[in-house]
């Protein structure tokens, strides 16, 4: 009993880690305050779920989820590329609402509020990851691949240019870097990995509906990024574990789920406010939000 609960938490940590590291690329490394990250997660989850239900193998679903999410990332990056910090945040947040409205209303495709049940568990070389422990191993493997891929990207020359754009966009442009193109790529990469996280989520829970992708869901992810510290991989891992585990003791006290849900959001929101006030750089952050 307790084992399966711990496995469940570990899988959630893997999914949130991918989601948060992906957001780090946009917010931490490129300085693009993207509040529409959940939209990419949503696109990935729906793309993966629909393909899996249509009988496609897991790895096709996973990659397609990433690519479709990346395309949606380009869709939002192109029109908002010149916007400043707070305006960009609001525009991306608006995008998140549009994607949510589409998930809710395009009933022919998404079945709207009824959601998509019966999403098959991943199957690789004939092995079905129906057991949660097996799924955890798969989740850890995917999370590790994403983690090191993103770390590689962040420490590459491209990643350095992104950091330069974050710190001084004008100067970077003077050096001959096309900041417009770089920022678009950064958002695309960030969206790609958010889509992967969405695919993993859909195939783990085996049911998705639009309520998992409301604007509220950005709060824990944003809290992880800010608490961990901008552009810090180590901080993101620690913050992911903190954020996923923090509200869990409430379950042992035995609160009903109607209290646990809002109470979780209250904890996350309070934590976010306190860290912004007292330690805006987060645990291991290198830079502050501008």
């Amino acid at each position: 009993m307790i084992e399966s609960y711990l496995i469940h938490l570990a899988i959630l940590i893997c999914i949130y880690l991918i989601l948060a590291i992906a957001l780090q690329i946009a917010v931490g490394f490129s300085g693009l305050l993207n509040l529409g990250h959940i939209a990419f997660y949503c696109v990935g989850a729906y793309a993966s779920a629909l393909l899996a239900l249509a009988g496609f193998p897991f790895w096709v679903c996973l990659i397609a989820a990433g690519i479709l999410a990346m395309l949606s990332g380009f869709v939002i990056a192109l029109p908002t590329n010149k916007l400043r910090g707070d305006y960009l945040a609001l525009a991306t947040m608006g995008f998140s609402f549009v994607v949510y409205a589409i998930a809710l209303n395009w009933t022919d495709l998404t079945r709207g509020p009824l959601g998509l049940p019966g999403i098959p568990r991943p199957k690789i070389f004939g092995f079905v990851f129906s057991d949660n422990l097996a799924f955890l191993i798969l989740a850890i493997a995917i999370a590790l691949i994403c983690f090191f891929a993103l770390k590689r990207i962040a420490s590459s020359q491209f990643g350095k240019v992104l950091e330069a754009i974050r710190d001084d966009e004008l100067a970077t442009r003077i050096l001959g870097k096309n900041s417009f193109k770089m920022k678009t790529f950064a958002l695309g990469i960030s969206a790609f990995f958010a889509g992967i996280a969405g695919s993993l989520y859909a195939s783990y829970i085996t049911f998705i509906d639009p309520s998992s992708f409301t604007i509220l869901q950005i709060i824990p992810v944003l809290a992880i990024v800010i608490i961990g510290g901008l552009a810090s991989f180590r901080g993101t891992i620690i913050a992911t574990i903190i954020i996923v585990l923090l509200p869990e003791p409430m379950r042992f006290i035995g609160f009903p789920s109607s209290i646990v849900g809002p109470a979780r959001q209250i904890i996350y929101a309070l934590l976010l406010l306190l860290i912004l006030l007292f330690r805006p750089k987060g645990l291991f952050g290198k830079v502050e939000l501008e």
């Binding site: 305050l33 029109p79 609001l90 995008f95 609402f97 409205a101 604007i215 109470a263 976010l272 939000l289």
Partner: protein, 292 residues
């Protein structure tokens, strides 16, 4: 007669959005940061009215001013307890934006915790038969909402133009440093703009509570609309925000002529994106550094 009905619906929606946007815009123009939790003010006032009138059973005409006052008080507390601390630390606009977003989610969750997720109705005004005007049906309450919004917005305009406090607010909004050297206390002006803006949001909350119903997410929905209205019209310009809100109300209601009604909320965002992209200063906006 679909046209006149959609026009009337747009007018009612626009009137409520305009109240939210005017308060939001007033706060933005003096403080220069996005007060997202303005949506929470709307929801808090509406739920406070529900608490006083429907749960405690206090007389409606006493409950209403108390709910508006509570909204104003709530906005003031947000500023004093939270924003002022950040402003003193010279936090960037982005930090203030996330803070206000966090506050919005915080209070939405608190309302959810206290009152539950189910939809509540105030039920003071019995559903009355609508009056038919040129083929459109409008209830007396809706007429009252539209007229009182116009009156309130006119009073706000008069207040900003003619009174000493309104002039001081405009001075701070125009140039805070100069206003301060002339002996205007900017902190006090910030507090006043929160009080006045939040009181107007409280009125909007009560109208929504009476006309539609109460849901914990109402604040988020309304601030998005109010914000969109403010951006369309020109953020930081109260007449612009009002104009933009009415345009948004019409666009949403005429939009569902072509699209399923579920997309009503998405229309607001598409308009928001278009304006942010092509005319971020809004229709009447003052030129500001929106773009880098």
């Amino acid at each position: 007669m679909v046209f006149t009905q959609l026009f009337v619906n747009g007018l009612i929606a626009g009137a409520i959005y305009a109240l939210v946007a005017a308060g939001f815009s007033l706060i933005y123009s003096t403080t220069k940061f996005v007060h997202f939790a303005h949506g929470a003010t709307v929801a808090v006032s509406a739920y406070f009215l529900y608490f006083l009138f429907s749960i405690l059973g206090i007389n409606f005409w006493i409950s209403v001013p108390l709910a508006i006052a509570f909204g104003a008080f709530f906005g003031l507390i947000c500023n004093i307890l939270v924003y002022e601390k950040f402003v003193d630390k010279k936090a960037s606009n982005v930090i203030l934006l996330i803070t206000s977003f966090g506050l919005l989610i915080l209070f939405e969750s608190i309302i959810l915790l206290l009152f539950g997720a189910d939809v509540k109705t105030i039920g003071f005004i019995k559903i009355s038969k609508g009056i038919e005007i040129a083929g459109a049906i409008i209830t007396p309450l809706q007429i009252f909402i539209v007229i009182s919004s116009f009156v309130l917005l006119a009073v706000l305009w008069f207040f900003m133009k003619k009174t000493k406090l309104g002039k001081a607010m405009r001075a701070v909004s125009d140039n805070k440093a100069v206003a301060e050297t002339l002996g205007i206390n900017a902190k006090k002006i910030f507090n006043w703009s929160f009080v006045i803006g939040s009181a107007i949001a409280g009125v909007a909350g009560i109208f929504v509570a009476l006309e539609q119903n109460l849901e914990p997410t109402m604040g988020t929905n309304l601030i998005i609309k109010g914000f969109t209205g403010a951006v369309i019209g020109g953020i930081g310009s109260a007449p612009g925000a009002i104009l933009g809100s009415f345009l948004l109300g019409f666009a949403e209601n005429f939009g569902i002529w072509f699209l399923p009604s579920g997309y009503k909320d998405a229309i607001a965002f598409v308009i928001l994106l278009v304006f942010l992209l092509f005319r971020p200063t809004g229709i009447l906006g003052i030129k500001r550094e929106v773009q880098k």
